[in-house]
């Protein structure tokens, strides 16, 4: 008897035949969702220039990835949304007033040099957005150190901002921490509140601490990111700052620490996959951030700390926990030989 199944198109494949139907696009969509409030707030703070920077970065990242895939005759994979994520991340760590052509150049460097040259999605060694930013940072220090004050910045904030010369990676003034340690800043609840809400000069997306924490909670609860690395990084910076006698709260609120910890340290391709590896990765980022802030020539160390630790990831991936039923190689044999 011929089975009616003969009428159907039957597929053969290896098990499992069941799937959670997750997709890379879905993961990227969730990350984009978590970044949107920061984008909107950035535009609210800094106005049209911020909007232009964000749109330029996203569009050029997607276009550059597409162009590279076309030119190298690879499968077109821009629909996975990772270029959009890189574009948003890059825009959010740029000063709002950056010239459009510089944003495009940074996007090109991020997508082609940092990502595509290494093999594209999942294969890149260095975080594309941060690499793009680092490229702009060393190429155009002046433009990258020009900060716009939020439209509705209060005088107090202005004072702080001018004193710190823009808290993030500005090269034109002394380091954020050294200035903050000085007595010329009124460290009261208002200052902290303004920093918490991001009502200060800085990069487009890294200033509103509350929104970043919200995004962190969302991504951690939906298990899109692991909480370990970000927490390890923040805890390490806090501890180091405390031991060095600095202002721990300001070290948390100022600069790009939280944004970097939540969105850059957790980048899939450039962070370790083992839990121990992630803790060490986060702690390493924290230590280097602190060292650069405290002793380095730059006011902010988040970007370079993450890029430096990116290079260590392949080694951290060798730190594996105890596998099921794993019995450590018996030391008895050694004694037996003796």
């Amino acid at each position: 008897m011929a089975a009616p199944s003969d009428l159907n198109e039957i597929y053969l494949s290896s098990s499992p035949h069941y799937s959670a139907k997750n997709s890379s696009t879905g993961v990227m969509a969730a990350v984009i969702m978590s970044l949107l409030p920061l984008c909107i707030y950035g535009v609210y703070l800094f106005g049209i220039p911020a909007l232009i920077t964000i749109i330029t970065a996203v569009c050029s990242c997607v276009v550059f990835e597409l162009l590279f895939q076309l030119a190298s005759k690879q499968k077109i994979q821009i629909q996975d949304g990772s270029a959009v994520v890189s574009g948003i991340l890059l825009a959010l760590v740029l000063p709002p007033s950056l010239p459009v052509w510089m944003t495009i150049l940074g996007s090109a460097f991020a997508m082609i040099v940092a990502k595509a040259f290494f093999g594209g999605i999942g294969a890149n060694v260095f975080n594309p957005a941060l690499t793009g930013r680092a490229f702009l940072f060393v190429s155009f220090p002046a433009a990258m150190g020009t900060w716009t004050l939020p439209k509705n910045a209060q005088p107090l904030v202005e004072a702080v901002t001018s004193a710190t010369g823009g808290v993030t990676d500005a090269v034109t003034s002394a380091t954020a921490l050294s200035v903050l340690k000085g007595a010329d800043i009124v460290k009261d609840a208002d200052t902290y509140m303004n920093f918490l809400l991001g009502n200060r000069a800085g990069c487009i997306g890294e200033s509103n601490i509350l929104l970043i924490l919200l995004a962190f909670a969302f991504l951690a609860v939906t298990k899109i990111i692991d909480w370990r690395a970000p927490l390890a990084m923040i805890a390490t910076v806090a501890l180091a700052t405390f031991l060095a006698g600095g202002d721990v709260v300001m070290a948390m609120l100022a600069g790009g620490l939280l944004f970097g910890a939540v969105f850059m340290v957790t980048d899939y391709a450039t962070s370790p996959i083992t839990t121990t590896g992630r803790l060490i990765f986060g702690a390493g980022c924290g230590v280097i951030t602190f060292l650069i802030r405290q002793f380095g020539g730059y006011p902010e160390g988040v970007m370079f700390s993450i890029l430096i630790m990116n290079a260590v990831v392949p080694f951290l991936n060798k730190l594996i926990q105890k596998k099921y039923g794993f019995v450590p190689a018996p030391k008895k044999t050694k004694e037996a030989v003796k």
Partner: protein, 458 residues
Amino acid sequence: MKSHTFKGGIHPPERKELTEHLPIETVFPFTNSVSIPATQGGAPNTVLVKAGDTVIRGQKIAESDAFMSAPVHASITGTVKKIEFRAVTGNIDVPCIVIEGSGSDETAFMESLDPFTCSKEEALKRIKDAGIVGMGGAAFPTHVKLNPPKGKVIEHVLANAAECEPYLTIDERTMTENTDTLVDGVAITIKVTGAKSGLIVLEDNKSHLVSTLETAITKSGYTNINVVLVKTKYPQGGEKNIVKSALKKEIPSGGLPADIGCVIVNVGTLCAISDAFRLGKPLIDRGLTVSGGACASPKNLRVPVGTLVGDLIPSVIKLNPGIVKILSGGPMMGVAMANANFPIAKNTSGVLFLTANETDLREENQCINCGKCVTVCSCRLYPVMIAKELEAGNLENAKKYGLMDCVECGTCSYVCPAHIQLVQRFRVGKQLFRIDMQKKQQKAEALKAKTAELQGGK
């Protein structure tokens, strides 16, 4: 009652509601003919019959002298029509004995044997003679499992009633309908292995069966059998996971459950053990779940071993259009078949007809390194790293990340957002690793021989 569990795992949709309330339907005598694979677990058997022979239900028709083997019996009374090669689960062509039924209900069972007075050797021989193999899927000869190597003391018998595969409900139904047989099977297994206690381990989605089981245990008078609940989570029913959950012990890498004093036996197998002693009945029938979105009549069936699934269509199994996969076994570890004309063997726990919605036909994308597979791995391995090392051709490193410890449960492939066929890659990887080991061994031996030759020449 507290549920125990292990680290990792997934919660796929269970879809057991399709069949869990349906009593097992015995389809016998129904089929005119059966195609019984000559070997179903263990070393290859020699066929004992030839075309034209008359065989009786329960008669041995294929066996092997090897210790690691299990004989096969005629599941219906009739005439041997031919011995032909046909595709079985796994899509390999193996010799099958085709028997045409005569409609007679004559049987040729063995004498019943009291497992509590006979010797261990007699008991193991009976289990072998009954052709009992692991009915959960592995088809490992049960008499071998119950006779661990010297020096290994068995303390616990675990009745594996987790049934963690989605769709499948045959173990649940067997427990509901044949509770006493199951308890008897556990008691016999405890006796044969000399274990101290028996644990019936089930997922907490079947917690309603706890009282049924406990009543049957009390009635039977065995005080050393207990019911243990474990969390409903895939792959709770895997050997490595069930011992971890129920006993908090881990089977050493490359070892056997016997290394930690356990034997783990499936519910169906335990019932078969009981039948082999009490009724003298060899393993010739089995229950299975027929289900899936493209199956219009999902049900639990009991059929003679060797029944072709295709023969049950459409009188017993009714199908809807839209089938994209025919599976022998569950959706996580079952085997996709090219058509429904394959025999139900001793280890076929289910036959599923899946629609495109239920399965995943997407192609592989590039790995995004998210590490989801690491989080869910039921053996705490590093699937993404194994896959990368395999791609780089570095078998040694792949082993360090756990290649050879993989149980192929499929949780990593299940969650992968790039839908990479990790399990398939690991299967290939394991083969490559074994070949590599063999080659290295041969090289070492050749070198040794050459050294000996040179030294001899001096």
